[in-house]
Symmetry: C2
Subunit: 252 residues, 2 copies
């Protein structure tokens, strides 16, 4: 996977840090970015604080190939992502002609108040990210993609964005699991498999179900044949401790 | 809330970054830390990569009063959090006598293999964090609290840890919501309320339900009387646009 470009996600919002809201955007983006071959390698969750957003954006956009943000692009006073991204890039924050015209037409000039005008104000040079649910778009500037925090709007934005993104080697997974296996019993054997497959990421995940506790062994990588070979070895490892491996992952 | 000490959470695990697993530990810790008066102000999600863990721990432990990590303390090769935390603090990673003795006794010497011995190997000077579910403890060193990733074990560790933590001013919330209100209509009035209550964090959160879309207005802070006053003003704001405010938050 080393040849793949990398992604980071920045979740912007006090509501995640207070525990008011359970984030679900990270898992969605993680899966889609992995499938695209732009694997997610870091997430930051930060508050609606201007200086924090600026500093975080400038840190991650230098360290990763693609940065996706969620949250903070609505009309209220706590929606400061767009202005902060402009500051991070050192460009003016100004009306985006197309977004402005669309919002004004959709809402009617009499309802296009100062608060709503903020949703059409963007860093100079921003490219719009459309969505099928709200007339207010997200935008991209440089390698930073700014999306809504509301999950169904964010997902629609990502659907629109995805065809414009480059793609790499999709990250694939092969797994086996078994009830009755404890990690401590198979750990040394699993490490030996990891050492034979340095091109794969092999992980061990205990599960706890009413029908029995056990462990899922998951290999991730971009080469299907190598994944199948690792899956076979992981199955043999489970058999070697007297249990029956099942292909795939246990239901959550 | 400025007088409160601050917390950060570091989620360590490829399974969150691949989208295999939906994190639920952040929301749990966010709520408990807010109630303790040690509000969560940053989250990092990072992979099981030694150098990344070391660098992240050293960054956040310098910037926040308390750091809580989840994940990577089991017996398998991908469980490297403990060794990485030792490296971050520049101390030896060595058998912890009490953890070692307990695990050996619980498992039996014949089953206390090298992989399981890793769970009793910790940074020198580590203080154990017990839990009611597994005999394998977490640990604390300096201002860093290292816990399991499995949610029910992590929660039990936090239950054990909580009485040892200092506490600040609990972060409280007061909210109103209303069906039929769009953010763009109340944004200017809400900003005026925020300006009158600079000691509170006031947020606006749209919701989408079959029974009707609307917005929840949430004030957070440590002074109950100020929160009640802000809640009253937010209710008046909703009435001013012809809708009926309901105290509290809409069901998710």
């Amino acid at each position: 996977m080393d040849s793949n470009q990398t992604s980071a996600v920045v979740v912007i919002g006090n509501e995640i840090l207070s525990g008011r809201t359970q984030d679900v955007n990270v898992q969605f983006l993680a899966r889609r970015l992995g499938a695209l071959g732009l694997p997610l390698v870091e997430v930051r969750v930060i508050p609606d604080v201007f200086a924090t957003i600026v500093a975080t954006i400038n840190d991650v956009r230098a360290r990763f190939d693609f940065v996706f943000t969620t949250g903070g692009i609505g009309p209220t006073h706590d929606d400061i992502t767009s202005e902060a991204v402009a500051a991070a890039f050192g460009v003016p924050w100004e009306p985006h002609p197309l977004a402005w015209e669309r919002l004004e037409r959709h809402l009617g000039p009499e309802n296009f108040n100062k608060a709503r005008q903020r949703m059409a104000t963007m860093p100079r040079g921003a490219r719009l990210i459309e969505n099928a649910i709200s007339v207010a778009p997200g935008f991209a500037i440089g390698n930073v993609y700014v999306m809504a925090g509301v999950p169904r709007i964010m997902r629609s934005m990502f659907d629109h964005l995805e065809p414009q993104l480059p793609s790499g080697q999709p990250v694939l997974a092969r797994a086996v699991y078994a009830v009755g296996v404890m990690e401590g019993i198979i750990a040394e054997g699993l490490e030996a498999i990891q050492n034979r497959f340095p091109d794969l990421d092999i992980g061990s995940y205990p599960f706890y179900r009413i029908t029995g506790n056990g462990v899922a062994l998951v290999a991730k990588g971009t080469d299907e044949a190598r994944l199948v070979a690792a899956q076979t070895e992981m199955g043999e490892l489970i058999k070697s401790v007297g249990r029956t491996p099942v292909e795939g992952e246990p239901e959550q």
